[in-house]
Symmetry: C2
Subunit: 152 residues, 2 copies
């Protein structure tokens, strides 16, 4: 289990990072969600060392974000496919992308996320699920939720 100290915190951010916060893991998910499914393809695109990639893929399978599927027998070969739980990490990647596009892309965004339905650049942005308005950091307050008691 990675990031053991994070798991003890009664915080959904810490618990998410306990699973996807290790170095390279989010880049591995970036590749799988973009459709690269095979070990060598993921390795080439990310530049991650084979032993680390192997470890990260195992963790993601163990936690149910990826499924490991055999696609060849001689030699044995596997693909990694996102589960719905794994695909659900996309908003984390979009948020990282948006920050990087704003603050760490001196030549402009390397990629653009396009919304199929409307045909325009999506520039994914956080909105309030209730009223639908865009959310800025100053627009929210945080209060204890139903799972807060577990902290006691």
């Amino acid at each position: 289990m990675p990031y053991r100290p994070f798991e003890g915190q009664n915080c959904s951010i810490a618990r998410t990072l306990a699973i996807v916060g290790e170095r390279w893991t989010l880049l591995v998910l970036r590749e799988v969600l973009r459709g690269r499914r095979r070990f060598q393809d993921i390795r080439r695109e990310t530049g991650v060392a084979p032993n680390i990639l192997s470890d990260r893929l195992s963790t993601l399978v163990e936690h149910g974000l990826l499924r490991r599927e055999r696609y060849g027998e001689h030699p044995e070969a596997f693909e990694y496919r996102p589960t719905p739980k794994g695909a659900d990490i996309a908003p984390v990647l979009w948020a990282l992308l948006r920050w990087g596009d704003r603050h760490a892309a001196p030549d402009g965004p390397p990629v653009v996320v396009e919304h199929r339905a409307c045909g325009h650049d999506a520039a994914p942005r956080m909105h309030c699920s209730h009223c639908g308005e865009p959310l800025e950091p100053a627009d929210v307050v945080v209060r204890p939720g139903p799972g807060a008691a577990a902290a006691a």
Copy 2:
């Protein structure tokens, strides 16, 4: 500089992780964005070791996400305040929070993000900036952007 191999990738996700992807950094930002500004308070809430916290705060100041401000002279004491660039990391934290609430909160969400303007749970969610509709992973395609040439 942390995460050196990530910086070479022409990818806004990788470049963001090069700055905020090190272990503990996002939890440190969580605390500062919730209003905890002093070293000992951040240390206590996160459980991070002092030498690591010191390193992470320095990195965040160096990259312009936090400002270091003196609040005492005898003894010398500092507060860490988010800059607009630092506050802009909030959507990353919201995305991590939402994933954790869905997939790693067996007792329910430990905290709820409330939208001041509408007074309801915001449950921050990604929408298309152009048409305003909610975005699911299957709703988008990625294509090269203006900064893509830098990859050549």
